[in-house]
Amino acid sequence: MLARWLAALVAFVVVFLIGIVTIGNFGTGIDPDSFFDSEGANSFAFIGAIALVVAFIAYAAVEYAQTRSFASISAQFDTRTIVLMPIAIAINIILGATVANALKLPIYLDSIGTILVAALAGPVPGALTGFLSNMLWTYVVPPPFQNGPAAAFSIVAVVIGVLAGLAARGGWMRPRRSRSTGELAVGAIVALVIVVGLGIYAYTRFYGSTVELFVEDSAPIFVILSWLIIFIFAAIVVGFLVLLFVRRDLAVPYVTVAGVVTGVVAALISAPISANVFGGVTGGGTDFLVAAFRQAGSDIQTATFQQGLLSDPVDKLVTFFVVYLILAAMARRMKARFPQGELLLDELEPDQPDADDWRGATA
C-alpha cells in the first residue's frame, strides 16, 4: 500500500521536474507591463496534469506487480458505473458537438457526462469517462459528431473528472435544503470571496494592461464583448443569489466554488495545448474570443489563456449546476446504488428522526 503511493509520488515529482526543465521554466521573471510571467505560467499546469497521469500509471503498475490485479482501482467500477459510462460519454459528445458546431457558443458543455460519473462513482471513473469521451470523439465516433481537436485535450477531461470526483467525495454535491438565512449568507459570502479572489488573480495575471473594458474609441467588437462580459457576470451573480435564497439550498455555494475552481484549472491546462497545437483555433465558438483578444494585442499564448479563463469557469459553473439538477431529479434509490451515491443524498432527510427538531432549533 505504502509502496504504491510512494511510487506515485516519486513518478509525479520526477515527471514534473523533467517537464519544468525541458519545456517550461519559472526563471523568466514577471513582465512589468502585464504582470505576466508568460514562459513559466504557460506550461506548469499542463506539466502537472501529465505528471498526475504518469503517477496514476505508476501506482497501478506497482499494484499489478504486487498483486497481479488492479483490485483497488477496479473496485470503483461496479457494473452500474460501467453501464452509466457509455451514456455519459454519449451525452458529452452529443451536447459538445451541438454547442461547438451548430450553436457556435463560446463555451463547451462537453463535460456533463464526465462530472455526472465522477459525482456518482468517484474520481477514477470520472477521469476515465473524460479520457474515453475525448479519445472516442476523435477516433471512433462517426461524422457529424466527430471532432478532430478533442483527443489533444483528453488530459484536460481527465483532470476535470478527478476534480469533480474529489468535490463529490467531499460531499460538495450533496443537497443541503432548508437552511437558515444566516448559514446561507455565510455560504454566499465565502463563495463570492473565493470566486472574486480567483477573478482578481486571473485578471491581474493574464489580462493585465492588455484588455480594458470600454476603452475610448475602441472597435465595435470590444464594446459588444465588454457588454457581454458584464451581462454574463451579472446574470451569474443574480442566478446565484436567486438559487441560494429561493431554494434555500446551502449546496449552491459549494457547487459554485467547485465549478469555478475546476474551470480555472481546466483553462490553465488547456490553453497551452490550444496555443501550441492548434494556434488558438479549435473550430468552436471560442475562436471568436481568441480572435478578439489577439486583435487587442495579445500573443497567441496569452490570448488562449484570456479566452480560457473567460470561457472555462462559466462553462464548468453551468455544467456543475446542470449535473446538480440532474442528480436532484434522479430517484434517491437509483443514486444510492452507485459507489459514491450515498454522498449525494440530503443528509437531513432519511436517517435522522429528529430532523425537524434540529431544523426548528436553528431557524
Binding site: 457494473t79 460501467i82 453501464v83 457509455p86 451536447l95 465516433v141 462517426p142 461524422p143 494556434g279 475562436d287
Partner: protein, 275 residues
C-alpha cells in the same frame, strides 16, 4: 445494448453499425491490424504537430495519409470527409490569423479597421496544414476500421473487457440517443412545443427536450445493469474470443518503429536539431 426501446432498436442497423464481426476488409490496408492503423493515425497526427512548419506535415500527409488511402481505395471519401470535417476549423483559423496576427507588419490588404498581413497568412497556412494532417490521419483510420474490430483486438491484448464494453456501447449509444431526442422532440411538438419560432423560444424549448433525453437514458441504467449481471459480466478472468483481427510480426515491428521514430523526432525537436 439490452433493454433499449423498440423504436431505436429498429432504427439502429440503418445507422452504419457493423452487423457482424469477422468480415474481411476489401483491401490489404483494410485488413491490417486495427492497432497498426491506430498507431499510424496517432503518429501522423502527433508528428505533424512536432515537425511544425509546412513541408514536414505536407510530406507526412502524402506518405502516411494519401498513399494508404489510395491503396485502400478510399481516397475520394477521405478527401470529402476530411475537408468537410476541417472546414469550420479551417475557416476560423484563416480568419483569426490572417486578420488578427499581432505584431505583423507586412500589410497585404486593408478593409476598414482590419488588415490582412503576410505574417498572418504564413501562420494561417502552417496551422491549416497541421489541422489537415490531423483530420486526414483520423479520417483514414475511421474509414478503414470498424470500431468493434479495434475493441476486440484491444481485448485480445489484455485490455479489460469492461473498457471494451464502454467503448463499444458508447459508439452505439450516440446514434441511439439522437434517435431518442428526435422522438422526444416530435412528442413535445405534438403537445404544442414551439421549436421553430424566435431564438428565445427555441432556447426555452431546450429544457423539455434535453431533460427527458438525459433522464430517460439514466433510467435505463437499471435494466442494463441487471441484464449484464445476469449474463456473467462481472465474472473474473479472461474471456475466450471467438474471433479476433489477424496480426503479424512485421506489423508489430512496424508499430514499434513508428513509435520509436516519433519519440526520436520529439527528442530531436526538444534538443533543437529541427530548429
Amino acid at each position: 445494448m439490452a433493454g433499449g426501446d423498440r423504436l431505436s432498436d429498429e432504427a439502429r442497423p440503418a445507422r452504419g453499425i457493423p452487423p457482424s464481426l469477422g468480415r474481411p476488409g476489401p483491401t490489404a490496408y483494410h485488413r491490417l491490424n486495427p492497432l497498426t492503423k491506430a498507431t499510424l493515425a496517432t503518429v501522423t497526427a502527433v508528428g505533424a504537430v512536432v515537425l511544425g512548419g509546412v513541408v514536414g506535415p505536407v510530406g507526412l500527409v502524402v506518405v502516411a495519409v494519401l498513399l494508404p488511402a489510395a491503396i485502400a481505395g478510399v481516397l475520394p471519401q477521405l478527401v470529402r470527409t476530411g475537408l468537410l470535417l476541417s472546414l469550420p476549423i479551417a475557416i476560423s483559423a484563416f480568419v483569426v490569423n490572417l486578420f488578427f496576427y499581432p505584431g505583423a507588419e507586412t500589410v497585404l490588404l486593408r478593409i476598414g479597421p482590419i488588415t490582412a498581413t503576410a505574417e498572418g497568412l504564413a501562420f494561417a497556412i502552417e496551422i491549416l496544414v497541421r489541422i489537415l494532417a490531423i483530420s486526414g490521419a483520423v479520417t483514414l483510420f475511421y474509414l478503414t476500421t470498424r470500431p468493434s474490430d479495434l475493441v476486440v483486438d484491444l481485448e485480445r491484448r489484455g485490455v479489460s473487457p469492461r473498457i471494451g464494453f464502454v467503448t463499444n456501447a458508447s459508439v452505439q449509444t450516440v446514434p441511439a440517443m439522437v434517435d431518442r431526442a428526435q422522438q422526444i422532440t416530435a412528442a413535445q411538438r405534438a403537445r404544442g412545443l414551439d421549436t421553430e419560432g424566435s431564438v428565445w423560444r427555441r432556447i426555452r424549448g431546450v429544457v423539455p427536450i434535453v431533460g427527458p433525453v438525459i433522464l430517460g437514458s439514466i433510467a435505463e441504467v437499471e435494466e442494463r445493469t441487471m441484464a449484464l449481471e445476469a449474463r456473467g459480466f462481472t465474472r473474473p478472468g479472461r474471456r475466450t474470443l471467438l474471433w479476433s483481427p489477424s496480426d503479424s510480426r512485421t506489423q508489430a515491428i512496424a508499430r514499434w518503429a513508428l513509435v520509436i521514430g516519433l519519440a526520436a523526432t520529439i527528442v530531436a525537436r526538444i534538443a533543437g536539431f529541427l530548429g
